[in-house]
Structure formats: C-alpha cells, structure tokens
Amino acid sequence: MSTKARPLFDPEIVKPAIIASFKKLNPVHIWKNPVMFVTEVGAAVTTLDLFFTKSHSFVLQITIWLWFTVVFANFAEAMAEGRGKAQADTLRKSRTKSVGRKIMPDDSIQTVPAESFRKGDLFIVEANELIVADGEIIEGAASVNESAITGESAPVIREAGGDRSAVTGGTTVLSDMIKVRVTANPGESFMDRMIGLIEGAKRLKTPNEIALSILLSALTIIFIVVCITLKPFSKYAGPDVNAAVTISVLVSLLVCLIPTTIGGLLSAIGIAGIDRMVQHNVLAMSGKAVEAAGDVDVLLLDKTGTITLGNREAAEFIPAPGVSSEELADAAQLSSLADETPEGRSVVILAKKKYGIRGREIHEMPHAEFVPFTAQTRMSGLNFNGDVYRKGAADSVRKFVASGGAAFPAEIDQAVDKISRAGGTPLVVATAKKALGVIYLKDIVKGGLPDRFQRFRAMGIKTVMITGDNPLTAAAIAKEAGVDDFLAQATPEDKLALLRREQAAGHLVAMTGDGTNDAPALAQADVGVAMNTGTQAAKEAGNMVDLDSNPTKLIEVVEIGKQLLMTRGALTTFSIANDVAKYFAIIPAMLVGAFPQIAPLNIMKLGTPNSAILSAVIFNAVIIILLIPLALRGVKFRPAPAVEILRRNLLVYGLGGIIAPFPGIKLIDLIVHNLLHVA
C-alpha cells in the first residue's frame, strides 16, 4: 500500500493544475483568501485602467503580471490538491485490487472486483480468501482471522444464524466455506471516508490558519489604507508627484506590499502537510490533527512493538561455576533446537554467533527426541544420545535438577536475580546431571531509538513508555531505550489516567493504540494514531490511522506536524520581510520624477521608474512559483532546541527575506530594462 513520493512537478499533476489555476480565478472561490482577492481586484482595476491610461504598454505589463500573481497562487493550491488527489487514487487502487466470488442471479459464480459488490449481493468465500465486504453469513460456518480489525490473532468462529453471523470486509477465512450477503456498499467504509479527506475537497481551515488569515487580512487592510492615502499625499506634494502616482502604480505598490507570498501558498502548505502524512502511510482525519502533532510534547509509547521489537532475544550465556561457556552454549543450543519460538531461535543464533556452534539440523539427529514446552513442566528441551537437555524458568529447572539429585548452585540463583533486576528474562539450562547456567533473554530496543529520544528531549518532548511489565523490568528497559519516564504494570485505565494527568498539567499528548480498550484514550489524546490492524472502535476514536501499523511512526507524525508549522511560519516571515526591498524599488520610482535629488535612494540602481515598478511586481509573482517546492516539500527539519531552530530560521527566512529580493528585483530589472527595453 506504499505510496512513494512522486516527482514534484509530475506532468500528470501539473497539467490539470494549470487548468485549475485559471478556473480558480472565479471571485467566488478567491473570496475565501482575502489577500489574493485584493490582488485579483487590483488586477481588475489595472485592466480597467488600460482603457484610460496613456502609458498602455506599462499598464498592460503590470496588468498581465498581476493576473499572473493570482494564477500562480491558484497554481500552488491546485498542485497541492492534485498531489493529494493522486495519493488518494493510489490508495484507492490498492484497496480495490482484491476480488470476490459473487453468486450471480442465475446461481453461477463469477470472480468480480471487490468494489463492485452492492448491498444485498451474495458471495462465497472459503479458506485463505479475503472477505470482500461487510456482510452476514447466510449459510455455513467458518473460522475467521479478524486480526486486521481487532488486533486479536486468535481465529473466531462465525456461523449463520444467531449473533455471530456478521463478518467484516478485510478479514480472512481460515477454514471451511461460507455464503455471505453484503450489508454495506463500497465507499461507505471508514477507510473510504479517510481517503476522501486527503483529497482536500472537504478541507476546513485549521485554527492556526484562521489566526494567520486574520493577521494577513489586517496587514492587507493597513496597506490598502497606506496606498489610498498616498493619493492625497501626492496631491499635496505637487502635480509632478501626483502625475507619477497613477492608479496602476498604487495597485502595484499595494500588491507588492500585501503578503501575497504566504497568502498564495497558505492552503498549499496545509494540503501538503496532510499529503506528507500520506506519504508515510498515515491518514490524518484533519489538518487540525497534523498541526496538533507539531504541538505535542508528551509521547505515550507502548513498549512492545514500539520501543522494543516484539520478541526477546538471547543476549548472553552465564555459566555455572565449573562449566565452560562453550559447554553451556552447546547445551543451550541443543535444548532450543526444537523450540520454534523467536526466543528459542535466538538462543541457537547466539550460540552460533558467539561460540561458533553450528546450528544442528533435526534430520542430522535421527535419535533425538524433542520435548516441547508444556504448561505443566514449563520447560522444553531435547533427549539426545541418552543425554537430557532442558531449559526453562528457574523454579521449574530447580525442581527438575533436584529430582535427578543434582546440585543447583547458588551462583545460578544470583545470576537469575541479576537478570530479573536488569529487566531481562532468565532461562536456566540443565542436563539431568547438573544445572549448567543461565541464558539471558532481553528485550531488544529498536535501533536508533535512544538517539531519537535524545533529540526529542532536546526539542522539549517527553517520552513515556507504557508497559505491562513489572516496575523493575520496565525501569531497566526505559533506561536502555532512553525514555524519560515509564508506566509499569499498566492497564488501559492506567494509560487513560496518565494521559488525563499530563493534559491537566497543560501537556499535549500523542499516543498509538489498536485495541477497543485503547479507544477512550485515543479519543482523549491530542493526537491518537490508530493502527490499521486495530479495531474499528480504535480507528474511529483516533484522529490518524497508520496503514503500516507501525507504532514507532508516531515519531515521524510529530516531525511532520512540526515541519508543517515551520513551513508556514518560515514563509510568513519571508513574505513580510520581503516588503523592505519592495519599498526600496517602488518608492524612489514614484518620486524620482518630481524630486530627481532622491536618486541615491534607488539603491538597486534600477533602470527606470517603470522598469523598477514592473520588476517588483514580477518578483512578487515569480517568488510564489519559486517557493511552491518549499511549500509542498516543507522546510528542512532537524530536531533541535527551539532557540537553535528559531535562530537558524530567522536567519534564513527573516534576514534572507529582507535581503533576497534586492538581487532578485535587480536581476529582473536587468532583463526587463535591458533586454525587453521597458522604458
């Protein structure tokens, strides 16, 4: 289901986006974006001015570029929407590849695509086939693996009649055959609704976007008044100035001063944020959820699967006194040959890696008798060549050894204690004659996590590990993983209580969950990422779904949220800082005709007043196009303390925003003035 990042300007997206950017000129659409609406009105005014002005060529060029400013902003939005839509289509395609066997009205059976099933249709499904739609069994009984929905791997029995007749789309039949009547149309499922959101069609402005829009509108109002009052000011200043300050010049100044850059890119940034989540196979329910991810400062992480790999691994062999390490390793391996659990396999591997003891194959040992683990003995092992090898919990092995009359050295007890304290699981290895030593099984923290948690700590994000383990074990793993805190012997209720406590203290909390009993906490969390394999209840309660069901991804989710906010802030700062240079381009141009002495103020040495104004307007339009990649990809993100991030971004986007337009406008002026000969 992976959706790879596509090239930024994929022709498949660019072409419809170009068409859309002209369609979006409709004032009814633009009205929602005050900055671009004012720009469009300005473009309309200069268009009208064409009929009255004497400097047609100048006004025409200004007019064209003002319209382009609006079109470019529309293009940015259309690009983001197009990419979102492409992502959604990819997701949809991958969902609809499955097929089902439909029972046609004439009782024949045809294999048809899953999405063609409608309410009331009948289909049959047998072992190892996917149930293609939600439905009700009308004939037969089957064991069904519902782990995709419930997270429970144990199969359940579903049968016709009674209250166990419902089956869910996406689950798999493990045995037998059933006939099912479809109860839900395609496109109405939960996942379908989520995919709809990505397309951006029903996107609502997030609270932060609304606040930013207020600021941008206020700046627009100020600059409208600045430009309107400039007319009486220039009338006061005399006929020369008054003649230079034409309506088209004022509109040019206005459009250059209002924050068109961020105004034009704002919605593209928001859509791109959701889009980036999708690229990581995370579906966000809303833009608000993505923003909240950036604000999160407490992460509740389940230990198993998130912080540690699901299984424990053998890490060390601790021999009893008088036993060599090799001897212990050999016995440990023999006792584990038949043990197909991941732990058992890890013992074989450790023996091989550390002591070069080749893993023996079962077929090489015809006389071997394997002793499986049972709840009674709590040991497993191997009888081979008259020898007996066993491994198991300390108590069980002690009994086993005692029954053979052999000793159980105190050193083994000490080792067992030590391992338990360190959060590991001790397995004692013994033969019938003596206890040989201890295998240290430990939780394996996923690679790179301690480093990542360290960086999160630097960003002020606290990580809390949630585990059902006892406090001793939990503490040890927490220390190894480098989390800030842990909650041991946690029940779902404890988890919810912890979450509420953190929120009451003012924190914003993110968590992952999959089971139905996680649902209340997922709903309460500021960012609740449900695993796609989880129950429907969990998915409904959270505000994001991870299609890969990888809880560690919570970390990426937070990073994407932060990146979205940073991008928005960076472009806002850049946009506002740009004004300084534009003033220096336009104001001398307006006044130099009447007051030739102010020529030194034209610090960019722009060609003529007209070329200066035109260059500023062109810069203002082109910068939107140039920044589309940044808006869609997001600014570079590296976890660091806020002070550092602020300093760097202020330098790049604040100071850069002040400086960049000077060479930019100068360059455009060189082209416009010298190559195109704009007088």
Partner: protein, 586 residues
C-alpha cells in the same frame, strides 16, 4: 559627535540601568502586593488607601474581569475628561487666575481635555497665555497623574493576563489606580519637585512680573521690546509629574526649553532620566510577574537597541548640520543650532528629542521643527513605531507587548509549534485583538494626515510648504495618535479665524489612539488570563535572549513602522535629499 556627548550618553544609560531593577521590584510591591509584599509606605499610608476605597465604594479584594476593568477605566477617563473640560470653559469663575485668563474656547478645551486624558499633552495653546493657575493645577496637572496611573494600571492588567493561569480576572482597576498614585507617583513627585525647586524651578501663585530688558540701546520693536513679562506659577509641582508620567505638557509654551521648566544641565539630565524611569522598570516588573527575567531583559534590550539607534542617527544628523549653511561659511558646529537652546547644545537636544519621542512624553527642550530632515525623522519615526521604545508609562509596555504577541505569532511557527507566549497559545482571538490594537492608531494617522493635506483648513494651518509642511502635518497626527504630544512646531491648530478642524481632528486622533488600542488590548488580557499555561520546555518559543530581542525589533520596524514609509518618503526623506543634493532648504 563630541567626547562630552559620548560620556553623557554612557552616563545616562548607566544610571538608567541602575534604577531599572530596584524600581521594577518596587513596582511589583505597588501593583501586586500579594506577591511583592507591599511597599515600605503601606504601613504609613494604608489608612488613607482604605479611606479611598471607602469613598470609591470599592472592595479591594474583589478583582474584575477584563470587561469590568475596561469599563471602570473608561468611566474614570470620561468623568475626569469632562471635569477638565468644565474647568477650562469656566476658568474666569474659578480662583487662582491673577492674569485674568479668559475661558478657553470650546474646541480648544475639548482638544486639551482629550489631550491630557490620553496622556498625550498635545498643546494647541500656550500655557502662560491661556491657562489660569487653577486650570494648570486642577485641570491639567491632575490629569498628568491620572493618565499616567491609568497607563500603568492597563499595563499591569495585561501582564497579569499573561502571567496568570486559567484566571477570570486581571486585577481591580480602582485598587491599581489608588496604589499607583499613593505609593509610586506622589512620593516620587514630591521629592522630584523639591529637587527641581533646588535647581531653580519656581513654585508660586504670583501674577506675572514685568522687567525692563537689559539692552535698551536699539529702537523698540517687536523683536527688541523695552520690557519683558516673566510668567510665574506653580511650575515645579507640574514638571515633576510631567516628566515622570511621560506626559510632556509644558507649563509654558516653550516647554522644557524654558529656563523655569528646565534650568540646569542637572535638571535636564534628571528630567530625561525620569522619562524612562518607569517605562524601563516596567520591563523588570514584566520579568518578575511572568517569572522570566530573561524575557523582561530581552524586551528591555529591544527597546534599548532602537533607542540607541535613534540617538545616534539624530545626534549624527544634527552634528553634521545643514550643508547649505556650511557653504555660506557658517561654523559647521553651529549650523544646526536654530531652535536649540545654547545651554543644551546639539547633543542634549538630540538626546532629549529621542527620549521624549521614544517615550510618549512629548516634552521638548528644542524645536523638532528646526532639526535637520534626518534629525527630525528620528522623533517622527520613534512615535510611528507605536511608542514602544520604552514608551509612555504603561503605554509603552502594553504597546510593546502587542508587538511581542505579533512577533511570536509570526515567527513562533518557525519552531514547529502553534505560537506560544510563555506557555499560552496565541490563537485567532488573540491575533485579532493584537492587530486591532495596532491598526487603530496607524489608520487614524494616515487617514487624518491625508484629509488635512488636501483640505483648505489643513493647508491654512501650515507655516511651511513642501515636504517640510507635510512633515508638520504627519508629525501632528502621529504625535496625537501615538499619545506623544510633542509637535513639529509650525502648525497652527488654534487659528485666529476660530477654525476648529485641527483641534477637533486631533482630539479624536488622540482619543482613538488611546482607547481603541486599550479596549482590544484589555480583551487580549482577559483572553490570555483565562488560558491554560502549557509547561515550558526546550521546545517552547524562547522569549529571552538576543534572538528574541532582534526578532522583536524587526517586528516593530517592519510591521509597525514601515507602514509609514511612503508618507515619510514624501516628508523628511525627500527633504533630506533635496537639502543635500539640491539647492533648497525648508
């Protein structure tokens, strides 16, 4: 740029720094006695404070929400403004009028009442030729206290809003008002007035005295009168609060250039210091209240950086003077001495002009109108920043805090979180309040300047034409909305024709600039107070340190002041280039 100038500047900055912390800590005791533990005067004057509450029928333990606080402030301002208007209109019937000053005309009285209520102290009149001693003391000096206390109270309310966690209230206006008067303004002003008297400022109720002029050799004319009338009055008591309260309304028309208002270099120094004393200390108060002294000092540093830049530009411009006069052979050191007191010279005039316009004081010891175009641009630009470079007492602090909110909102996203000010999320409502508070004065200035620049009444008031005349207009409305009160002299607001336009336009300018800023700001205070504080961490937006100070300066300059760049270009900037590159001066 003389060595003595540098030394005095260093001395000024050093002393200002020295008083900031102790006075700031004292402000905590005055404004938030439950935290600061009350002042040393509380035991002495507590009985009087309680009487005040009994008269006002106020329960000092009962705090107000932002609406209650704002309404109380508005009622107090309205009533005291009407009182002033009444006194000015009826001064012939009131005592202490030895010069038998006439009743003040309606438009002028309205303008003056609005002016003193808003802490502007714009004066469309000459004090010694218009006001009786009773009017000066009861109608005007009293307002110097009132408006200063109101400003401090509003700043305290906003800071409480920032500091508090999920609180419904922002303090009690009446308590703040009484305590600021009783424990801050009155005690300092009593000592300050005594000091000023020691320097030679007068304090009497005598009729004006007439003396024969010293040089009787020339023929008597308007420029060589045979005798001079020396105005008297209770000056010292008014000057103390005029400076400390950043009011700036002079007892005399010449303001702090008058020897009776500012007699010695020491009085000049201490007056300049007293302008910045409370605004500077409020940054320390801010730090204490929000438990982040680093934030307080960062705000101080941002203010200071802009102040220093202003002083250096102004001083430099005035030192280099007028090139046209140099060509005529005038001693370069004195080409910019027009409109300056010889006693103070270039440096102390430039420093005073910068300080008085950084703070919304408006007292002047030289005529800003006579400054070189760039030198005059500094005071104008200072006011156009929104009076946040230390600013008026309280007003500078709350104005700067609006910019703090905006700066955090604009740049705060760049740290990857919803903007957050000391743990409080800055949301749509807060942004709305902040931009309204900034919009009101800016729009007022631009609209009224535009109106006056193309109407007959507007042009009739001008003494100068061209860009300099434009600067005068722009300065007047900037000074009004910024509640500064200083003037680019040369604008006649109370013409003999009786035209009321300027006085009424300026009165509304001042009222808008003050109250249309305070009301959204109080809403912001209330909204912030109610918010939950998000615990601070390494991921929180840093509001201390150099980075933040730089950000704050950038926001003030780019968002606040650049709005006026086109207007400035048509005034001082054009004038500057014409003076240097052309042949004309204005």
């Amino acid at each position: 740029m003389t060595a003595s100038g540098w030394i005095q500047l260093a001395l000024y900055i050093g002393v200002l720094l020295l008083i900031t912390k102790p006075l700031g800590a004292y402000l905590v005791r005055v404004l938030d006695p439950q935290r600061g533990g009350g002042t040393f005067l509380d035991p002495v004057l507590g009985w009087f404070e309680r009487i005040c509450y009994r008269i006002l029928r106020v329960d000092p333990r009962q705090e107000q929400n932002w609406k209650g606080y704002a309404v109380a402030m508005l009622i107090f301002s309205l009533v005291s403004m009407l009182l002033t208007y009444g006194i000015l209109r009826l001064q012939t019937h009131l005592p202490l009028n030895p010069q038998q000053m006439a009743n003040v005309p309606d438009a002028l009285a309205f303008n003056t009442a609005a002016s003193f209520t808003t802490n502007t102290n714009w004066q469309s009149y000459g004090g010694e030729s218009t006001m009786s001693y009773f009017s000066q003391m009861v109608a005007l000096a009293v307002h110097n206290y009132f408006s200063a206390a109101v400003g401090i109270a509003i700043a305290a309310a906003l800071i409480r809003g920032i500091a508090r966690d999920r609180s419904g209230t922002v303090g009690n206006f009446w308590v703040d008002l009484v305590r600021v008067h009783l424990y801050l303004l009155l005690p300092i002003c009593i000592l300050f007035a005594l000091f000023l008297v020691s320097q030679g400022i007068i304090q009497n109720f005598k009729p004006y005295t007439t003396f024969a002029t010293v040089d009787q050799s020339a023929a008597v004319s308007t420029t060589q009168p045979a005798q001079q009338i020396i105005a008297q009055g209770p000056v010292a008591s008014q000057i103390a609060i005029k400076m400390l309260g950043t009011n700036g309304g002079g007892f005399y028309n010449a303001n702090a250039a008058h020897p009776f208002e500012n007699p010695t270099p020491l009085s000049n120094f201490i007056q300049m210091l007293s302008i910045f004393a409370i605004p500077s200390s409020l940054t320390y108060y801010l730090g204490r209240m929000v438990k982040s002294q680093a934030h307080g000092w960062a705000v101080w540093a941002a203010m200071f950086a802009m102040f220093l830049a202003g002083v250096l530009v102004c001083w430099g411009a005035e030192t280099s003077g007028n090139p046209r006069l140099k060509e005529l052979g005038v001693d370069p050191a004195t080409t910019a001495m027009e409109g300056k007191e010889v006693r103070f010279g270039v440096f102390n005039s430039a420093l005073f002009a910068t300080i008085t316009t950084d703070a919304s004081c408006g007292a002047v010891n030289s005529m800003h109108d006579s400054f070189t175009p760039l030198g005059g641009l500094v005071p104008l630009f200072n006011i156009q920043t929104g009076e946040v470079i230390f600013g008026g007492v309280g007003a500078g602090m709350y104005g700067m805090l609006i910019f703090v909110v905006l700066a955090i909102f604009i740049a705060g996203l760049m740290v990857g979180r919803t903007p957050e000010y000391l743990g409080k999320k800055i949301e749509g409502y807060d942004v709305k309040c902040a931009v309204l508070a900034i919009l009101a004065p800016s729009l007022c200035i631009l609209a009224l300047t535009a109106w006056s620049s193309i109407t007959d009444w507007g042009l009739a008031g001008l003494n100068n034409s061209g860009p300099h005349g434009f600067s005068e207009l722009l300065y007047a409305f900037t000074s009004g909305a910024g509640n500064n009160g200083s003037a680019f002299a040369g604008l006649t607001c109370t013409p003999t024709s009786g035209d009321r336009h300027y006085n009424i336009a300026l009165a509304f300018d001042m009222l808008f600039g003050r109250f249309f800023m305070i009301i959204p700001l109080m809403a912001l205070a209330g909204h912030l107070a109610a918010k939950k504080v998000v615990p601070q961490s390494a991921g929180s937006f840093p509001v201390g340190g150099a980075t933040f100070a730089v950000l704050l300066v950038g926001t003030v300059v780019i968002v606040g002041a650049l709005t006026f760049l086109p207007a400035i270009a048509l005034g001082p900037v054009v004038e500057h280039f014409i003076m240097h590159g052309g042949t004309q001066t204005f």
